[in-house]
């Protein structure tokens, strides 16, 4: 059992490590310029010169994948950080304060959640215009309500616990109670959620690029490459295979890691002997 968990975690770390390595290398070096293309070389099949082939502008696909790795990772990370900070603050506020603060915030959160996340992000992107920061802001805002909900739920449960009541009885300020007692206990569920959030952010960023409103070209993104590949599907299927495979690969690592983290942090999954 433990062996299995460790194996999964190991594989996950290898996958994620590969992606991160690709991202880092891609930042400094790519075999070809990811945004420059030799028009004479367009639609080349994967070969020794171009391991992943070239696209409709003659740009090397491998180089674009490598450069795109950094973009995707950075944007997803930014989104998670934004949503975590914003969501936790709001959720803790609502959960701790209770009463009208809680009610108002809850209604607002419900409204935001009724909004399809991708469309909210789309709307925001259209208003601010395509940019890396814009995508982080848009997706971060879209995910904040989910984080807030979890935080609020956890805090609600904690409010009645002994150490919280004791802290308040001792006269400690609310802020101190929050930081010393409440937040540390939220960490576990939030960490578990952040791994799946990272995966969702990566996916959403790809979807936004797919719809044409993600990180602006010519900077390569995996979702954007996937979107562009549709037109030439019958001549150049490799343009769709590689970016999609990279997205799946990264998500696989993240999901496996998330599973492993949950297994470790959640004692209930120790298993039932039959």
């Amino acid at each position: 059992m433990i062996h299995l968990k460790r194996t999964n975690a190991r594989i996950a770390i290898v996958f994620i490590g590969l992606v991160l390595t690709l991202a880092v290398i891609g930042y400094f070096y790519t075999p070809y310029d990811p945004v420059d293309g030799d028009f004479m070389e367009k639609f080349q099949e994967p070969s020794l010169q171009h391991w992943f082939g070239t696209d409709n502008f003659g740009r090397d696909v491998l180089s674009r994948i490598m450069a795109g790795a950094g973009v995707s990772v950075a944007v997803s990370l930014g989104t998670v950080i934004f949503a975590m900070i914003a969501g936790t603050s709001i959720g803790v506020l609502a959960g701790y304060m209770g009463n009208w603060t809680d009610r108002i915030i809850s209604v607002l959160l419900e409204s935001l959640m009724a909004f399809p996340g991708l469309l909210l992000a789309l709307g925001i992107m259209t208003v601010i215009g395509p940019s890396k920061g814009g995508v982080v802001l848009a997706l971060g805002l879209a995910y904040t309500p989910s984080v807030a909900r979890i935080a609020r739920g956890t805090v609600y449960g904690l409010r009645q616990r002994d150490f919280v009541i004791a802290s308040q009885a001792m006269g400690h300020s609310g802020l101190w109670t929050v930081f010393r007692h409440i937040l540390p206990n939220c960490v576990a569920p939030l960490i578990i959620f952040s791994t799946s959030l990272f995966g969702s952010a990566l996916l959403s960023e790809s979807a936004l690029s797919f719809l044409g409103l993600g990180v602006p070209p010519p900077a390569p993104t995996w979702g954007g490459m996937l979107a562009d590949s549709r037109n030439s599907m019958d001549q150049a299927i490799w343009l769709a295979l590689f970016p999609g495979a990279m997205i799946s690969f990264s998500l696989l690592g993240i999901n496996m890691l998330g599973d492993a983290v949950r297994d470790i942090l959640d004692p209930r999954m120790q298993g039932v002997a039959k």
Binding site: A114, L119, G123, V127, G199, G244, S248, N255
Partner: protein, 313 residues
């Protein structure tokens, strides 16, 4: 029961109102309006002014909102700026497409996920369980728009077995309409099956641990009865929530899949209306979606106690 429903509906009203205000404001914040799109690179300022006035866009934002909301309250969602059709008609003709596909995909996914999840939980940590869990992780990592593209390529372009675009309603053309549904349903179901299986497995494991299961076993009930009569109904509860969430999410977020498969669903209608700045359609659609979301949540909350008697309404 009725009191519960009434209370929930009352709570939904501010939500829907906030959503409609948010939508109204946001779509107008976006640069560009429908007239600019219609005229493109020609048309003089007089024509622009005339057209703007004809659409009521020359009035102040609050005034426009009041006009719109007063129409909505009597059931008039307005007319599309681009196609001149009543928005309600557009929604009612596009929504069934999305619904068909989403429901079918969820059904197919549930059909596979429930037995798979139960099996995995029952045989936890044995080879079957590992195989199932590994498969779900792989499936959940494959974005549905990618699997969609690849499916189109394999079955549409290379093998030419299925159409690569479009939609024909079964009510119009009969069974041959199914051909348009197979690939999108497959693409969506692939991801959904993974999520559902994991969910059911997790909650089934939870339940199997519980004392009354041990009690049932001690009573001498067969494993099959334990699973079907006792585990499944209780494990299904959380899964029902997840299904509700998925349905709510998919009903609105199917935009990407509908783009890949060129389906005239409500997701695509929404995305294209945003691009076309077709304000009435965007507002109407999002209002509709928010209402759907509230409704789905309500139904899930009502059904929950059926599966978990511990929860009182």
């Amino acid at each position: 029961m009725l009191k519960f429903i009434a209370k929930r509906i009352a709570m939904a009203v501010p939500t829907v109102l906030i959503v409609s205000i948010l939508v109204f404001v946001m779509i107008r914040l976006i640069p560009g309006d429908p007239i600019v799109l219609m005229l493109g690179d020609s048309g003089n300022p007089d024509l622009v002014r005339e057209m703007r006035a004809a659409l009521g866009l020359d009035r102040s934002l609050p005034a426009q909102f009041i006009v719109w909301i007063s129409h909505v309250l009597v059931g008039d969602l307005g007319t599309s700026v681009t196609t001149k059709e009543p928005v309600l008609n557009l929604i009612l003709s596009h929504f069934p497409v999305t619904a068909q596909i989403v429901l079918m995909a969820t059904f197919v996914a549930a059909l596979i996920a429930i037995p798979a999840g139960l099996l995995a939980a029952w045989l936890q940590n044995r080879k079957t369980d590992t195989a199932i869990v590994s498969t779900t992780i792989v499936l959940v990592s494959i974005p549905s728009f990618w699997s969609g593209i690849i499916l189109i390529w394999i079955f549409g372009v290379k093998l030419d077995w299925l159409p690569t675009y479009g939609f024909q309603s079964i009510s119009d053309v009969g069974w041959s309409g199914m051909r348009y549904l197979i690939l999108p349903v497959l693409a969506i179901a692939m991801s959904e099956v993974a999520v559902l299986t994991r969910m059911i497995r997790a909650s089934a494991i939870d339940v199997l641990r519980l004392e009354y299961i041990a009690h049932a076993r001690a009573k001498g009930l067969s494993e099959r009865r334990v699973l079907l009569r006792h585990t499944l109904p209780n494990a299904f509860g959380p899964a029902l929530t997840v299904i509700g969430l998925i349905l709510g999410h998919l009903l609105s977020g199917a935009a990407v899949i509908e783009t890949v498969f060129t389906l005239p669903g409500i997701g695509r209608l929404l995305v294209e209306s945003i691009y076309a700045r077709d304000y009435p359609v965007v507002q109407g659609c999002l209002l509709f979606i928010a209402l759907m979301y509230v409704l789905v949540n309500l139904i899930v909350d009502l059904l929950y106690p059926l599966f978990d008697p511990r929860i009182k309404m």
